[in-house]
Amino acid sequence: MVRGKLLAALCASFVLSSSVAMADGLVDPGRAPYVDAMKGKKVVFLPLAMGFDLAEGWTSGVRQTVVSNGGTFSIRDPNWSTDAGAQALTELIAEKPDLIVVHNPDVQSYARLNEKAEKAGIYIVQVNMRSSYSTDGYVGADWLKVGEAEANALVKKCGAGTSGKVAIVQGVLTAATSVYQIGPILDVFSKHPEIKVVSNQAADWDASKAKALTTTVLQQNPDLCGLISFWDGMAIGSSAAIREANKTGSVYVVTNGGGEKMACDNLENGNFDEYVSFDVPRQAADMGDIIKTLFQSKLKPGTIKVSLYTPNQILTKASLKPDTCWNMKDLPKS
């Protein structure tokens, strides 16, 4: 039925335009809705903070997509404060942009607000860390797979002949990353009794906390075999502690992150040994796709729940190529 109408319209337009210029070809019927969908749309990004690779990478990609298609893009930067972020989200609901990209600090704090925003007619796309409430879109790492990959890496390294002692440095305990990653890790380890988790603590995404924590762990367990850090930004701290204790190389550091140049540098110089990358430019592109899709669908916010998990890429020093990592410095400035 729809197709019939479309055909009719096409014919009509063809007839009309043909009288003007015969050789101009056809008008792409899908293009107009695509172009119009984004025009004048207001998209806001609410990260945990700006100033680190993930947020900068996402921002750059999404801004590119939105602005080049005629929308407007702005950022609310709460600088690691959940309260400021929640307040910004609350204000956004009153302000009513068309779409908000939300980076949740933990699974609870924004959950109710996300739901409210959808009810108020705002599309919500969550990135990398989802809240307990699923919204229109989620783009981010598959933490289950990330956790499994990390655990398996240590199982391989810390098997027989080693102490089998591993440490886990989580981020904010209630953040999606930690909540969804720790389970699969512990599942894998439970199948390998030779692996002993000697420390499982939270460093709240803070490198200096991670460093202090790791120093302690290393003193308690000088024969530590491996360490999983839930984010590369934190793992820096852990590896600094390892280096201070002159244990670089003897503790196998596994971490994950957005695959920025800093990660490759650290793999190169041996601070990290294995790295699970969820490609940030890819995530930014995914976000752009979801945003475009949502705007074209014209669905009422909250109608569909789509998740796009980023495929993981496992990097080691051996697998590094010059273009493996992206560089924050090369991002187009807004």
Partner: protein, 328 residues
């Protein structure tokens, strides 16, 4: 009462703390088999050397009856800026010069507000810390963590260097202590700090230029903080500006107060800083070897700080007659 008794028996806080330190050291040495190894002792020293350097800076201010809560910000932000400039291709000498200038500038501003505007040191430096962090983070560089550029790994090499098996950070701590010790003991300015801490008004009446002295104090503490920042950056090849929001500042105060430098000023010296630093180092090391979790260690540490303050107030009771209104 207790304070009087203690003083009569020459139980200064420094001696008590020193005795506790030695006792703890012996206790751990006997009971913990991993404690008394040269590797452990060196790592013990290394882990507290930055804290100790900051403690020296804080001590200089506290002896003159001040306090510098912005010391962590002046440690982190100028150094992070230096690293950022190096990343941007600014020559190292220029970057260092600007960084030193920035940190001393912060100290001068602190001193100006405290000496000339007469803002209580607590608030001036608290606000200055927040300002310096915010200014650096939003105006000078836009990242939380600034890494040492890969082109200047020699700095990291220096940071990893050992001189006669002693880590370079420990050497830095020793040098800072030595210079500060000599400065406080044998220079006019050093003696003035003590006099001002002992009795500020009397010092002013006797003709000591108290206001410029205060400015110098804070400039010195900022400079020492910058040194601590460089040592940190060399050790971990990066500077994390979020350290400003951590509990490091409380540890610095802990070192100074536990060591026996009364917050009312005029007492103690670099020796006290060393004793305080060692106590904290041994305590942390011991707790760690005893397998006390990180979070619980914070609780124990703060409890010890509380005890130190209690002892301090018992030995140096606040004088109702001379304590000023608004002295909180």
């Amino acid at each position: 009462m207790m304070g009087g008794l203690l003083q009569r028996a020459h139980f200064t806080q420094e001696r008590i703390v020193f005795a506790i330190t030695v006792a703890l050291f012996l206790l751990f040495a006997v009971t913990l088999d991993r404690f008394l190894t040269s590797v452990n002792l060196l790592s013990l020293l290394q882990s507290v050397s930055v804290l100790g350097i900051l403690g020296v800076g804080m001590a200089i201010v506290v002896i003159g009856r001040g306090i510098d809560l912005s010391i962590v910000a002046t440690m982190a932000i100028p150094v992070a800026w230096v690293l950022y400039m190096m990343n941007q291709g600014v020559p190292i000498a220029a970057a260092f010069g600007l960084g030193v200038g920035f940190s001393i500038g912060v100290g001068l501003l602190n001193g100006f507000f405290i000496a000339y505007v007469e803002v209580p040191a607590l608030f001036a430096t608290l606000a200055m810390g927040a300002f310096v962090y915010g200014f650096g983070r939003s105006q000078l560089f836009n990242q939380d963590i600034i890494y040492l550029p890969t082109t200047s790994t020699w700095i990291a090499d220096i940071g990893r260097m050992h001189v006669a098996q002693i880590p370079i950070a420990v050497l830095f701590f020793a040098v800072v202590c030595a210079v500060a010790y000599l400065g406080l003991k044998y220079t006019k300015i050093g003696r003035f700090f003590y006099l001002m801490g002992e009795n500020y008004l009397a010092a002013r009446i006797t003709g000591i230029p108290t206001r410029p002295m205060i400015v110098i104090q804070y400039a010195l503490s900022s400079l020492i903080a910058f040194i601590a920042g460089i040592v940190t950056a060399a050790a971990v090849t990066s500077m994390n500006s979020r350290v400003v929001n951590s509990t490091l500042i409380y540890d610095v105060i802990l070192v100074v107060v536990v060591g026996g430098i009364g917050l009312s000023g005029g007492k103690g010296g670099i020796r006290n800083v060393i004793v305080g630093t060692l106590l904290i180092g041994i305590l942390l090391n011991g707790m760690t070897i005893l397998d006390i979790p990180f979070t619980l260690q914070n609780l124990i540490k703060s409890a010890i700080l509380l005890v130190a303050i209690l002892v301090d107030s018992a030995i140096n009771p606040r004088d109702e007659q001379t304590s000023q209104q608004g002295d909180i």
